[in-house]
């Protein structure tokens, strides 16, 4: 037995995986982790102020799940790129984050939250499907576990989308307004990835991003049409879907780094 004694590696969630030297893996993990981190943190802002108590609990639980996924993905990234999950999560400048611009619009009202989460969860589900049978076990195993949790998210958010869409008057109007704002950025989850060919060749990702986007559209369009909701258009600038984060994210970044900046290097 290696003399790792009690908890030499207490913060690691993943047990020492061996990383394949594949270009693009860092960018893939960072994009996924940042997506989960930013939506998780944004939705945690509802804790205490959601429209009804059950939703307060639900949104907090969803946010906690996403932050957990982010932590596990940052851990995995740290094993191949060095550093630790907190340093990766908190010690970057806003322009270095790689999350999709879909998540850059600020919390907004409840309809914005539901619309954003519906667009993101459905896209994330397609992305996870393209990873779960991948050749790199540490990522494929983690994705397998993530999907079991995301199933509850999809059920929950689908119910809310329908509830707002079928309500007459203000709920539906607000949902339409939210989809108008978010729609052009919806497909940014499928922003072309650095060195995608290498990831596909290594079998870490089993479906090209362009095909994933098509799968996602095939998945959501019948639902949106059935509810007479607009279909997200193609992104204006697909190459820049994970950069140019804007003012709302700079504010959020200030919030989530506040404690860390307040006492750098503190042990909790």
């Amino acid at each position: 037995m290696t003399p790792t004694s009690a908890n030499a590696d207490a913060d690691a969630v993943i047990a020492t995986p061996i990383a394949p030297p594949v270009a693009g893996l860092t960018d893939l993990l960072l994009s996924m982790a940042d997506d989960e981190f930013v939506i998780g943190f944004s939705d945690s802002e509802w804790t205490g102020i959601a429209p009804i108590l059950e939703e307060d609990i639900a949104m907090s639980s969803l946010a906690q799940d996403e932050l957990g996924h982010a932590a596990a993905l940052y851990d995995l990234l740290a094993t191949i790129a060095g550093g630790d999950r907190d340093a990766i999560a908190y010690d970057r400048e806003p322009h270095d984050y790689r999350h999709a611009r879909l998540l850059d619009h600020g919390r907004g009202d409840w309809a914005m939250t539901i619309a954003r989460r519906y667009l993101y969860e459905t896209a994330d589900a397609v992305r996870l499907t393209a990873l779960v049978d991948g050749s790199w076990a540490p990522l494929a195993d983690l994705v397998g576990k993530i999907r079991r949790e995301e199933r509850y998210h999809l059920m929950h958010i689908g119910t809310w989308l329908e509830r707002l869409a079928r309500a007459h008057g203000e709920p539906r109007d607000r949902l339409l307004a939210a989809l108008t704002i978010l729609g052009p950025d919806a497909a940014t989850v499928f922003t072309p990835q650095e060195d995608e060919a290498a990831l596909l060749a290594a079998g870490i990702v089993t479906r090209p991003i362009a095909d994933q986007e098509r799968d996602w559209r095939n998945d959501i369009e019948p639902t949106l049409r059935g509810l007479d909701l607009p279909i997200p258009p193609l992104p204006h600038d697909p190459e820049r879907g994970r950069s140019d984060h804007g003012e709302a994210f700079r504010w959020l970044h200030g919030e989530f780094t506040m404690v860390r900046r307040g006492d750098p290097g503190a042990t909790w």
Binding site: M1, V13, E54, I57, A58, S61, L62, K145, E149, Y152
Partner: protein
């Protein structure tokens, strides 16, 4: 790393397994981490003990407490204790033992099953409705029993 030959041949192995089985889950203290199905592997070598834990939910904050509980609970064996977490196989609610399910039901938490099959842990009625898929911890949902008019929680089926 412990060699395969060393596993299960150490006489103290049984005692260590028993000590593990006495460690409660911090969020559901009526159930041990063994009955919850969280222990993936126990490796006992003359030079150390390694326990591999499967997180129930990836972001479960109780995991750090469980890690410390295992280190403390096995400290008396006088060997270094190494606690690892793994997603090598996913923890699923099917891993909960019959004893674990009974202990959960006894405190009013319905054991995991498909939502349509959830029964009230108090009166066993099937006339229940899910109030919310999300409850006080990541692993629990909220239900209401129309027969005995009691709210209760159910473990999520994952």
């Amino acid at each position: 790393m412990v060699t395969e030959a060393a596993v299960h041949t150490d006489a103290v192995h049984t005692d260590i397994a028993a000590a593990l089985a006495a460690i409660p889950d911090p969020e559901l203290p009526v159930v041990s981490i063994v009955d919850l199905g969280m222990i993936h592997r126990l490796e006992v070598g003359s030079d150390g003990i390694r326990v591999t834990v499967l997180p129930t939910f990836i972001g479960c904050p109780a995991l750090e407490i469980i890690r410390d509980s295992i280190a403390q609970g096995l400290a008396g064996f006088g060997r270094p204790v190494d606690v690892q977490t793994s997603f090598e196989v996913p923890w699923t609610s099917d891993r909960i033992t019959p004893a674990g399910r009974a202990a959960l039901a006894a405190v009013g938490i319905a054991p995991p099953t498909a939502s349509a099959d959830v029964r009230c842990p108090w009166c066993a009625s099937a006339q229940v409705v899910m109030d919310s898929a999300f409850g006080p911890t990541q692993c629990r949902s909220l239900f209401y029993c129309r027969a005995c008019r009691q709210p209760f929680e159910a473990l999520k089926q994952v």
